[in-house]
Symmetry: D2
Subunit: 142 residues, 4 copies
Amino acid sequence: MTFTHSVNVRYLEVDQQGVVFNGWYLTYFDDAMTAFLVDRGLPYQIMTAAGYDVQLVRSEIDWKAGVGWGDDVRIAVSPSRIGRTSFALDFEVRRHEGESFAVTCLGRTVYVVVAMDGSGKREIPDLIRRALGEPSPLLPIP
Amino acid sequence: MTFTHSVNVRYLEVDQQGVVFNGWYLTYFDDAMTAFLVDRGLPYQIMTAAGYDVQLVRSEIDWKAGVGWGDDVRIAVSPSRIGRTSFALDFEVRRHEGESFAVTCLGRTVYVVVAMDGSGKREIPDLIRRALGEPSPLLPIP
Amino acid sequence: MTFTHSVNVRYLEVDQQGVVFNGWYLTYFDDAMTAFLVDRGLPYQIMTAAGYDVQLVRSEIDWKAGVGWGDDVRIAVSPSRIGRTSFALDFEVRRHEGESFAVTCLGRTVYVVVAMDGSGKREIPDLIRRALGEPSPLLPIP
Amino acid sequence: MTFTHSVNVRYLEVDQQGVVFNGWYLTYFDDAMTAFLVDRGLPYQIMTAAGYDVQLVRSEIDWKAGVGWGDDVRIAVSPSRIGRTSFALDFEVRRHEGESFAVTCLGRTVYVVVAMDGSGKREIPDLIRRALGEPSPLLPIP
C-alpha cells in the first residue's frame, strides 16, 4: 500500500495564476519524505542520532496541472531505487476531484546518505534500508 | 542621511490579491537590517566572529498599501532606540510612483544582543553601538 | 473554549540558529486565522463568495522563545476587538513540554473588511460578526 | 556571452545544514529567467500585455555542492531547446571561490507558452522567439 501524505496548501503558496507556485513542490516533497520515513518507523531525529543524514543530489519534476488553495491534495511516496550509497523516491501529487484523485504532478528525487560528522558519503545503513523497504516505482525507470 | 535598501520583489511573494503577502515583510526587514549593518561597516560575519548575535524579540508593522511584482521598492532603515542590551530599528517601505516615493508600510523591530555561545543576553558591545550610531526614529516613540 | 491550530513546522522554516525563522510567524498566523474561521463555520471561500475579504493592516508580535523542527506546536486564536470595519485577533504560540505547553510567542493582528470588487472598506457584515463571536483577548488591551 | 544573474542569498533560505535549502532553487531559477528575459528586451509585463504567459512543465536539477549565506552566487542562464510551443532553459549556479567560480548546481527547466485568456498552448510567438535567440545549451542534450 503506497504511503500518502496530506498537504495543507497555504495561502501564501498560491501565485497570481491562482495555483501553487512551482518553487514550493520541492518543499512539499521534503515534507512528504519526512512523513514517509516516520510512517516506516524512522523519524529524522533517530536517523541523525545514529550518525546519518541524507542530502538531495537530484530532482526531476513534471507538472500536468496546478493545485489551488483549499484543494484536497495528497502526495504518494514510494522508493524507486536503492543503491549502495544513494536511493531514489518517487512522488505523485494527487488532487481530489469528485469521487477520485487526479495526478497533477510527478517527481523523483535522489538522496545520498552522508555521515553527520561531515566526513562524506556512507553505504546505506540497515536502519535506512529497512525503513525504505522494497523499491516500488511510481514512475518509469529509465 | 537615512540608509535605504532596494528590494527585488519575487514573483512567488505576490499573492492572489496581486500584492506581496504580508508574511514576507519580516524577511524584507531582516534583509534590510543586514544591508544596513554592512553599510555601517558591520557585516554579520564580523559580528558573529566577535562572539555576538542578535535575536528578534518584538515587531510592529502597519500596512497602508501593498506593493506588487515589478514595483521599485526601497526600505529605509534607521535605529530608533538604543538601550543597554537591546535596540530598535525603524523601517519605512517606499514604492516608487511617478516622481516620488509613497510610504506603503511602517515597521519597528526590537533585537536583543546575545552571546554566540548560548549564554544569553549581553550589553551592546562598542562594535555594534558604533555601527548603529545615533538614534533617528522614523516612527513616533511611544 | 479557545480554538487552537496545530502547526506542522517544516524543515525549511528552521534557520541556522535551530529555530523557526521569525518571518514565518505571520504565515503561521494567517494559516491559524483561516482554520479559526473554518472552525467558526466561515470558510474563506464562503466569505469571498458573499463579496467580502479581509486585509491585514497591523501586526504586533512578541517572541519569548523559539520553536524547532519536530516540536509539537499549537496556536491559540481568539478575537480581541471587534469594531465597525475592523477587528483584531490574538494569537498564542504554545510549544509542548513534558505535561504542559509553554507560551513562546504572542501576536495580535488587525484586519479591515473590504469589498471583493475593490471598492474599499465595508462595515463588518453579520456573516463575519457571527463567526467572530464575543471578543475574548489573550493579550492585554491597551 | 552567457547571461548571469546575481543572487542575494537570504538568511531565511539557509537551513540547519548551513546551506541554502533545495526548495529555493526553483525560485532562484524563476528569478533568473525573469532577469534573463529583461536582459533580452522582454520584461514579463510586455509578454503578458501581448497576451502570452509561460508555464513550467518540467524541471531537472543536479546539486554538486551547497551555497551559504554571504556567498557570492551567480546563475548563468541560456536557452537550450526551442520547439513549436515549448522551450528549455539551462541554469548553472556558480559560487565565487578565490579567483574563479565553482559550479555548484545545474538545472534545466521546460516551459510551454500559453494564452493569457486561459485558452491553452500557443506556438511560440516572434516576440518570445527573438528574445530567446539561438539555443546554446549549458548541459548535454539527451
